[in-house]
Amino acid sequence: MDFDFQNIVTISVYGSAIALILIGIYAVLIKKHLIKIVIGMSLVDAGLHLLFVAIGYINNGTAPIFSPGYEDAATNMVDPVPQALVLTAIVIGFAVTAVALSLVIRLYKHHGTVRIDEIKSLKW
């Protein structure tokens, strides 16, 4: 692979997105503090959103909006579908985060701790 600009951009965008996902999973799997786990979850979210948008990007493309004066720009627009999906996903992600945080609060009220290894009621 020759290192022209295109490849650098490719690697940095995809790489940062994948790195965000992996960091998030790492936090979910290793960190003991429940809030850290929720942070990890939102990082995974962020990485996925970046990945989606990056897939839809086109070099030298424009945003999928027919601004006044540019009504015929359709040939040069980036893919709008991933953007619409991510738009939805961000809002849902907030809802999930909010519910997770409320569960954290609830667990803290119930168990007096936010450390996941001290909450053993999942034992079967």
């Binding site: 999973i25 979910v28 290793i30 996941i116 034992k123 079967w124």
Partner: protein, 621 residues
């Protein structure tokens, strides 16, 4: 409408009706069951001469039902015992509750047994087999007590058998593409099945469970002793014969007449399997006899005795010569008759006295003379003593074993049938002979509807003791269906290859006369000079018994023998199964340790699984 389908329909709708009628009155189901069995039986005997085949297809599966001579042989057992047992049952179950579910399952099991033997395809065979298993299981746990002790063993063993059978059926279908039994036999003839031995062994395991063969027998004593006696006679007499039915098909039609005898490997494996089965049958007979000896409960004793008798039958089928198969089928029918009679007799005692514990009962001979007569005849047949039909079967079995060269098996069979004398004497003595007790003085003979079926069975034993040809005829037809040719039999004369022969008419006449003389002598001798004392109070002999301590001679009846055989009783198969179950439980308990209670650990499992999947998909596919 086809008669076969009609009979099945009658039994199954009779089961529903029996249950529904119990909602009206608890007395009705017994009569409904009797009526159903009678209708079915009459219908069968009216129409079985003109053979009717039936084939139809449901959801893409072709089901075939038909009668053949081998089937008819077993149908005699099922209907004969079924009708007598349902007649017996009406009075026997008189005051028991929940008769509806009992009779529903009773009829279901009889109907499904008939369904099994008429099935000519594996699908309906398996379905009827499962209906039979479930209905009998529900009767085993019917009284609601001892589910863990008795029912679970039956269910677990039946599940092993059913899974083995299902695997075999699926394998067969994958090889020949159809479920038809006839197609399977044809494929065996043409050597079209690759893993025939595996299939056969799996099928044999499935049948061996019901036939209570040695390592799989442990459910039988528990289940037999826990069912109401009116069903136990069917259970032990007919239902266990379904295993014999299937083993006969596999051992004879697949092993002996497969058309592959020239194939050396195949012949070797099939003969090896047959030998193993014969030995298992021999061991079953010997061990079960030993266990029967030490039972205190008459029903349990009979249960172990059933296992031993089934062992003989399996030996005969596994040896597979013409004479051996004939003796096995003869013993199968005779076992159904005398074991049915014995269970009915013990059930009558249970109903009249309230217990079957032989240490608590004695001297019922004057109170229940008919029951005593039936028991006497049946145990003579069971022990294989000349004038009755048990002797005929044993004679043929010995001859078959000796001519086939299985001398060790002869020793085993001889040993166990000698020991059978001991336990059959014990049951006769324990229940009927000996000192008459005060607390059984009020006991009366069982009602007529209970006595008549028993007496019919006993008379059948006496008649076939002299004229075994009555039974030989259907057996010979059945064996012709299995593939034997030129099956010869004689009405009254047993002859062997060495030129000796026994004329059963002379034998039974002689013994009958001697018996009559002895009876007359004993009747006139009376009871002069004997003084009755309570056997349960032995303070008169100088010992001071503790309160509630039973010291009758019925206890430790075979004490010296028991002491000699004690090491044998130590190793029980039950214990091995329990150890296996406990080991598995410990293993699963250990596996459960992956559930640490930490949610993160579970998440790690998920990710690890995902990564493993990725690696597998990327590198191996």
């Amino acid at each position: 409408m086809n008669t076969l389908a009609l009979i099945i329909l009658i039994f199954f709708s009779g089961a529903t009706l029996a249950y529904l009628s119990s909602l009206i009155s608890n007395k009705l189901p017994g009569w409904v069951a009797l009526l159903t069995t009678m209708t079915g039986t009459v219908l069968f005997y009216m129409s079985f001469q003109n053979e009717q085949a039936l084939s139809f297809s449901i959801i893409g599966l072709n089901l075939e039902w038909a009668l053949d001579n081998y089937t008819i042989l077993f149908a005699h057992i099922i209907f004969g015992l079924g009708i007598l047992a349902s007649l017996y049952s009406v009075q026997y179950m008189q005051n028991k509750s929940q008769q509806g579910s009992f009779y529903a399952n009773f009829l279901l099991s009889i109907g499904s047994m008939f369904g099994i033997i008429i099935s000519k395809d594996f699908i309906s065979f398996f379905i009827f087999w499962e209906i039979m298993t479930w209905s009998s299981f529900l009767i085993v746990v019917w009284n609601g007590i001892g589910f863990r002790k008795n029912g679970i063993w039956y269910m677990a063993m039946s599940a092993i058998g059913a899974y083995a059978m299902l695997t075999a059926i699926v394998l067969i279908n994958s090889e020949i593409g159809t479920y038809s039994l006839q197609a399977f036999f044809n494929a065996v003839q043409e050597n079209a099945i690759d893993n025939l031995m595996l299939v056969s062994i799996l099928l044999l395991i499935g049948f061996a469970v019901k036939a209570a063969l040695m390592p799989l027998h442990i459910w039988a004593p528990r289940a037999y002793s826990n069912t109401p006696a009116s069903y136990t006679s069917v259970f032990s007499g007919a239902l266990s014969k379904m295993g014999v039915f299937g083993m006969g098909l596999v051992l004879i039609r697949v092993f002996r007449f497969s058309g592959l005898q020239d194939n050396f490997d195949y012949a070797l494996v099939s003969q090896f399997t047959s030998h193993v089965l014969a030995w298992l049958g021999g061991i079953t007979a010997a061990i079960a006899t030993l266990y029967a000896l030490v039972q205190k409960d008459a029903k349990k004793l009979l249960a172990y005795s059933s296992i031993a008798q089934l062992g003989y039958i399996v030996i005969g089928l596994a040896i597979g010569t013409k004479l051996a198969v004939m003796s096995a089928l003869f013993l199968a029918i005779m076992h159904a008759v005398f074991k049915g009679a014995l269970f009915m007799a013990v059930g009558a005692v249970e109903r009249q006295v309230g217990t079957t514990d032989m240490t608590k009962i004695s001297g019922l001979i004057r109170r229940m003379p008919w029951t005593f007569f039936v028991t006497l005849v049946s145990i003579i047949a069971l022990a294989g003593v000349p004038p009755l039909s048990g002797f005929v079967g044993k004679w043929m079995l010995y001859e078959a074993l000796i001519t086939n060269g299985n001398f060790f098996l002869v020793v085993v069979v001889f040993f166990s049938s000698t020991a059978a004398f001991l336990y059959s004497y014990r049951i006769l003595f324990g229940l009927f002979l000996g000192q008459e007790e005060d607390d059984t003085a009020h006991v009366k003979e069982a009602p007529a509807t209970m006595v008549i079926p028993m007496v019919i069975l006993a008379l059948f034993l006496i008649v076939t003791g002299t004229y075994p040809g009555i039974v030989f005829e259907p057996i010979a037809h059945g064996m012709e269906y299995l593939g034997f040719t030129d099956v010869t039999w004689n009405m009254t004369v047993l002859s062997n290859v060495w030129g000796d022969s026994v004329n059963l008419q002379y034998v039974s006449t002689t013994i009958g006369v001697a018996f009559m003389l002895a009876l007359i002598f004993l009747t006139f001798k009376g009871r002069k000079g004997t003084r009755g004392v309570s056997t349960k109070d032995i303070s008169t002999s100088g010992e001071i018994p503790l309160e509630h301590e039973n010291l009758t001679f019925q206890l430790d009846f075979f004490k010296p023998f028991e002491r000699a055989a004690a090491p044998l009783y130590k190793r029980s198969i039950t214990k091995i199964y329990e150890d296996v179950a406990n080991g598995l439980e410990a293993l699963f308990d250990f596996t459960r340790k992956i559930y640490t209670g930490n949610g993160q650990t579970y998440a790690i499992y998920v990710v690890a699984f995902l990564v493993t999947l990725l690696i597998v998909v990327q590198n191996m596919l």
